[in-house]
């Protein structure tokens, strides 16, 4: 298994992406009614990009994960639990500190990634419901995400990758959090949009979901949506999330079998 063999180092996944292609998620519960335009990467509307995920790219961190969905490449490191900063007040629950940053070359125009300042807060909100903060009182867990390349659906991929990194670090969680976003074009819903698709969407919806507990930890919606479409889109996202969660679990099993 190439993933297991290369665990512990950071591998540019040009060939590994092929391996994952067979894992292409089959999300055809809602067949597109009028699939009249092909997506640029040849997917159908309800196909996610092949997901390549791996634990342990950075050795200095307590846990780390790398994710590559099409062009989007994200690396997340988790440090801690470690002593909270002195300035912090006493707290009998742990703290989760999240930071999302973009490399200057992540976007087509240099340095554009700094537009996404709210992502740190959104990542925190998506994860805080899943992490058992009471298991590390007085201490802080730092989650640092770096977007190496932005290729659309950045935030959902950051969230999924961060929860894999948290699990890799051995932070107690109620469940893995996975996240998927959909875009809406007229009456069509397309899942896991690329940045080109995001630039022209009529509306977008993102769900962060804990599949085993069947709980939504974060839900954002913007743009024009009709009622029935929201229900469909949320269900579509939840289904994709639980399939993505299976991939995450496999990666964790790979990592632990390698450790033994």
């Amino acid at each position: 298994m190439s993933a297991a063999a290369t665990a512990g180092t950071y591998s540019p996944a040009s060939s590994a992406g092929e391996k994952r292609r067979e894992r292409k998620e089959e999300l055809r519960r809602h067949l597109a009614e009028d699939a009249d335009w092909p997506r640029a990467d040849g997917r159908s509307f309800h196909d996610c990009r092949p997901a390549f995920m791996q634990t342990g790219p950075t050795t200095a961190a307590s846990g780390s994960a790398y994710a590559e969905f099409g062009k989007t490449k994200v690396i997340v490191s988790v440090f801690g639990p470690r002593e909270s900063k002195k300035a912090m007040l006493y707290s009998d629950t742990g703290r989760l500190n999240c930071n999302v940053s973009y490399t200057t070359f992540a976007t087509p125009i240099r340095g554009q990634g700094t537009d996404n300042k709210e992502y740190s807060a959104m990542l925190h909100k998506a994860l805080e419901g899943a992490v058992m903060l009471h298991t590390f009182p007085k201490t802080t867990v730092d989650v640092f995400a770096l977007v190496l390349e932005s290729g659309g659906s950045d935030l959902p991929i950051i969230i999924s990758c961060a929860s894999l990194a948290l699990a890799d670090a051995g932070i107690m969680m109620y469940d893995l959090v996975t996240s998927v976003s959909v875009s809406c074009f007229g009456k069509n819903i397309i899942i896991d949009p690329t940045s080109d698709e995001e630039a022209w969407q009529d509306g977008s919806l993102m769900v962060a979901y804990m599949p085993a507990r069947k709980e939504i930890t974060q839900l954002t919606l913007t743009g024009e949506w009709s009622d029935g479409k929201i229900t469909n889109a949320v269900e579509l996202c939840m289904d994709a999330c639980s399939k993505l969660c299976d991939i995450l679990r496999e990666r964790l099993k790979d990592a632990s079998s390698l450790a033994e």
């Binding site: 900063k85 703290r95 940053s101 925190h124 939504i216 839900l219 954002t220 919606l221 024009e224």
Partner: protein, 422 residues
């Protein structure tokens, strides 16, 4: 009923109960409203054993904060407390300098000025960049009894101020409060007070969308509203409000679902357009800021007059067109599609609208839904850490849609009244 209930009573209790029968939180609506009507003071009717012992005013918090701090001060004049930190009050309210002076203990001195500067340097960059989760609204200090009182009241559909779960506080609206702006409004929702202004400036449309104007939204939390809004404290909070408002009002990237038709802001295609700057200011904060801000923006937009522009097109189209801004004729916006935001705050098993900051401190999660006049959802944001069952979220959306209808009609009549008064 109390005078503040008359303004905006939600009609869920009497008419359309059948709509919401699947939601258990509404089951007791009719019952407890009759309790509230029967007894003069609704609080006595609800929980007599707690009455008198639990007050939810902020001066009590300050006073007992003093008690904690000032027990050992001779000038304080009150008996020293039996227990150093009663209830859930914050033990660290006292200024640091005071604490050190009454507990003199050897503490490590900084080696030198250079060492001091080095430590400052090491600490400063992280503060700016990281997201520290200490949200201002968790700062409400409540004792166990007060928390119990709030949660119990919500479970019985009778909140601490006598409202029912799906009832807003009295809303008051004033337009044209800032003469410098093109449109402005002040909205009071109970003790929450916000001001929204709209300024229009001539600008250049972006290359990507040459046929559209630009709208930007900013929110500022004034330190006059709450001490924790001072300095950096408000930054994350106002950024959160700002993002939520943008999500609800600006629509998708293509411009679909936006509150303001962006193509109506264009003056000359690809050359000149109106840039609309919407600024929200939190003057006084007692919970539910997002709904108040969205309502204020809606009112401010309806108050906004955009000057009429006369364009004299020169012969060659490459040249910059000459623009003549009229200061007499103004154009009004079509604000019928501007949505309102209804935030449903989940406390225990139930959800409430228009939560005060005390109630917000007890929430497990909150869902803000932006709904327009036609009952269409235009945006949605979830706050709070706890996960929610999908069916609960769908239920919240349908309740929010129902409540919004009432809210919009109240807001509309308030706008008319405010315009008449002006």
């Amino acid at each position: 009923m109390e005078p503040n209930n008359e303004q905006f009573t939600n009609s869920i209790g009497d008419a359309p109960l059948h709509r919401c029968q699947h939601s258990p939180h509404l089951a007791t609506a009719a019952f407890s409203s009759s309790v509230a009507a029967a007894s003069g003071d609704p609080r006595c009717g609800a929980q007599p054993r707690l009455d008198g012992t639990v007050r939810l005013s902020t001066d009590r918090l300050d006073a007992s904060g003093d008690g904690v701090a000032g027990g050992s001060f001779p000038h304080c004049g009150r008996p020293p407390p039996l227990w150093p930190h009663p209830g859930g009050l914050l033990p660290n309210r006292r200024p640091l300098a005071l604490r050190r002076s009454i507990f003199p203990c050897p503490r490590p001195r900084l080696a030198s000025a250079r060492e001091f500067a080095r430590r400052r340097l090491r600490r400063s960059p992280s503060r700016e960049q990281r997201y520290a989760p200490a949200a201002p609204r968790t700062m409400v200090g409540l004792s166990e009894g007060e928390k119990h009182f709030i949660r119990g009241g919500i479970a019985q559909d009778l909140r601490t101020d006598g409202r029912r779960r799906l009832q807003f506080r009295a809303i008051s609206v004033e337009t044209g409060v800032i003469p410098q702006a093109n449109g402005s409004a002040r909205v009071r929702l109970g003790a929450t007070e916000v001001i929204a202004t709209v300024k229009a400036e001539l600008g250049k449309p972006s290359i990507l969308h040459p046929d559209k104007g630009k709208v930007s939204i900013f929110v500022d939390c004034s330190p006059t509203a709450a001490p924790m809004f001072e300095g950096r404290g408000s930054e994350e909070f106002s950024a959160e409000l700002c993002v939520a408002l943008q999500r609800c009002l600006l629509g998708g990237k293509s411009g679909a679902g936006a509150a303001i038709d962006l193509s109506s802001l264009i003056v000359v295609d690809g050359k000149v357009c109106w840039d609309l700057y919407i600024d929200g200011l939190v003057v006084s904060s007692d919970g539910n800021l997002l709904d108040a801000l969205a309502a204020a923006i809606k009112v401010a937009l309806s108050d906004t007059g955009i000057p009429k522009v006369n364009v004299s097109l020169s012969a060659t189209t490459d040249e910059e067109p000459e623009v003549n801004v009229s200061d007499e004729e103004f154009l009004q916006f079509d604000t019928s599609s501007v949505p309102v935001i209804v935030t449903l705050t989940k406390v225990g098993k139930h959800y409430i609208v228009d939560a005060t900051s005390e109630e917000e401190s007890q929430m497990s999660s909150a869902v803000s839904v932006s709904v327009n006049r036609h009952g269409q959802i235009r945006g949605l944001t979830k706050r709070g850490g706890a996960g929610l069952d999908p069916s609960v979220i769908f239920d919240m959306i349908s309740v929010a849609k129902h409540v919004s209808r009432q809210f919009i009609s109240v807001l509309d009549s308030e706008i008319l009244a405010a315009e008449a008064a002006e």
